[in-house]
Symmetry: C2
């Protein structure tokens, strides 16, 4: 008897992510380059790990007093507390008033998964999600899979070559009452005092629920407080919100994928109710979260000397990023590449837009074997002393030899582009 | 202006789990005991960790060649391969035919979460789940939260004091065509050849999809192959199935919560389609799984000497459990406790039913400060030389001094119970 397969109607998923990396790996060209790694790279081209982390790994492995029992579903208490203090400051309003809490989450999307499940159940009258960030975010899929209607917007203005707060405000204008706003990288978008007031005013009057994304606190400006300053605006504005705080990248423990889902409520009682529901969801998701990452982070954050050394290591990374960006800009200037390249140094963080159009990107990938995403947003830590000349010369060529379907340089005449 | 809270209508969840532990912790009685820990305990009353694990933790922390980059969404390849070989044997039919695969999952419920998401999407014509095990399982909640209709059954027969295969077959008889059967601990339920044939015949004709739970391979009989023998029956029977393999408890790395979701398909092509869809779900769940647990396990399984030492350590645990059970039975015999206590040694694994009724359990908790769940299923590794006398004497008392609403000993006269 032939049996029909249960999986008969299940189609193969065409991989959306990783396509660029796959093509890169299949390329035989000896000087090929990949500038789209998610992690921060060292100048030797290896994933960056904060120097204090190695020591801690060893210390934890040697600690005979450690208990390897299951964690509670909520996760490691001391880790949650330390993460919240890192985010808001020990003496911040929400912490003192005991109306912020967190659930220990797994991986880089765990906090979104958990938050989305909560909102699916407890915000059932508004299942529309606006994802607005400086880039395309993976968590759009999380909400989509759960049945939310998802709209995605970027506030990177490819014409003006900057993060444009007005694009954020425009989206907000059209957004329906009561929807959910997932906001990534807003720290990179420089809003004036007036724009902040308008943003928060509209969100409040439309009862929009904010869900922030803090993917790498401290790796944006190099200053931990500066990177999360905007959260205080929302706290002071009387908002309740969720926040995904991922702590893999700023410690360099990518393989441990650890974070928390932060809940800010109007008072402690409301907070406890929300947390108790979240704990139930977390139990169904993973029952208890893995602890290695949380242990490493807690040990660092709770030890003043290590905490300081870690902060210093973050500063070092960001200074290095700025240096690379300056060098790229300077090299392009010396090459006489048309256009202004100030937008490179105007952007914060490891990943920034080169400000190239599709044709120019295609030129780099196809002709120069420099693999970068279609939107031209690259990881600047992938550029180092060994490859900077080749990369900047290739960008120069790409700008000169391509004729863009959409112009990047409005001040460059057609003849120059041909 | 007063703001209404987003969390206004969110009620506090009354904790279902952990209630017993909480009461235990609040108890001031100096000789209180908790016999319901999920993890295997040593005779010193600490969570058991396989002796090889400590060494590996240190070795991994010291390894300068390790790359701490993000894992792929599917997880650690070598870990998945090693886990599958552990489950089926290196040269088993499904591995040779390349029609079994796995996705690296997080925590003890991750595999169920992932599998349930897949079935929710791809088996939409039958959203009924039967959970049948020797005990109440937590993953009922996973399926319930996702909107499945869930029925839960135990094949522990509290009258006959045994795992009763007929209860399993009876449930199967009523189950609707095409439903999902989540089967836990079936290795503990001794089916005759005829009962196996009947079970598989009915499942096949009703097109029931099996989803097995292997929570601690090797800790049931002490023999890794024996514990998963039933999987081969299903493979030979031409079944496709899912299987949650958790590897936290049999290595003693409870805090790393690691496992895989196993997929067996009729052929490689079908398998690849199913895996590609699962990878998408995993990406939304946690993006990339944490690796410490997987690294420890892979290093042990792929090193013949460590593998052997680990196997030996499992045997040691199971021998110790049998010894404890024998001692408990012998002590009850010497005390003259009414009834036969053979069911204690007839059951496999760390957790087994004492075979007490509700009143007797209540007596132990309230009068003797021995905390055990209502169904009387305890963790026998919590019993050691220091507490065995108190525990057996208390059981003796409980049996003599309570009058059960449901009788446990049908051969005991009423007068004896009073």
């Amino acid at each position: 008897m032939t049996t029909l397969s249960v999986f008969m109607d299940v189609p193969l998923v065409q991989k959306l992510e990783g396509g660029l990396l796959k093509t890169y790996k299949q390329d035989d060209y000896p000087n090929k380059m990949f500038l789209a790694y998610r992690v921060c790279m060292t100048s030797e081209g290896r994933p960056w790990v904060s120097s204090v982390v190695h020591k801690l790994r060893l210390q934890i492995a040697q600690d005979p007093s450690l208990n390897y029992e299951y964690m509670p579903a909520m996760g490691m208490k001391s880790f949650i507390q330390a993460s919240l203090e890192l985010l808001f400051g020990k003496y911040s309003q929400v912490i003192v008033e005991n109306r912020v809490g967190g659930v220990h989450t797994v991986g880089d999307s765990g906090a979104f998964q958990l938050g989305a499940q909560f909102l699916k159940t407890w915000r059932c009258n508004s299942q529309t999600v606006y994802i607005i960030s400086s880039q395309k975010e993976l968590h759009g899929l999380v909400f989509q899979d759960m049945g939310f209607t998802v709209y995605e917007y970027s506030f990177w203005d490819s014409k003006q070559l900057c993060m444009n707060p007005n694009m954020l405000l425009d989206v907000l204008e059209q957004a329906p009452h009561g929807c959910i706003f997932v906001i990534g990288n807003i720290g990179n978008c420089k809003l004036t005092r007036y724009q902040w007031a308008k943003l928060m005013g509209t969100m409040k009057s439309k009862q929009i629920f904010p869900f922030f994304d803090i993917p790498y606190q401290g790796l944006s400006t190099g200053d931990l407080e500066e990177d999360t300053k905007f959260l205080h605006y929302f706290v002071s504005g009387g908002f309740e919100f969720f926040c995904s705080q991922s702590l893999s990248r700023n410690f360099g423990i990518y393989d441990e994928g650890v974070g928390i889902l932060v809940v800010v409520a109007l008072n402690n009682q409301l907070l406890l109710c929300a947390l108790s529901q979240l704990m139930n969801f977390a139990q169904a998701l993973w029952l208890t979260p893995p602890t290695t990452g949380a242990r490493i982070i807690t040990s660092i954050l709770c030890n003043p000397a290590l905490h300081k050394a870690w902060k210093q290591s973050l500063k070092g990374v960001v200074e290095n990023i700025m240096l690379i960006k300056e060098k790229v800009k300077e090299k392009l200037r010396l090459l006489g590449t048309p256009g202004s390249w100030d937008h490179i140094t105007d952007q914060n963080g490891t990943h920034s837009y080169l400000g190239l159009n599709t044709k120019q990107v295609e030129y780099l990938v196809k002709k120069k074997h420099i693999y970068i995403p279609k939107n031209g947003r690259i990881n600047f830590t992938c550029i180092n002393a060994c490859n900077i000349d080749y990369i900047t010369e290739s960008i120069h060529e790409a700008v000169l030899f391509t004729k863009g379907s959409e112009r990047r340089f409005q001040n460059v005449s057609d003849s120059q582009l041909e």
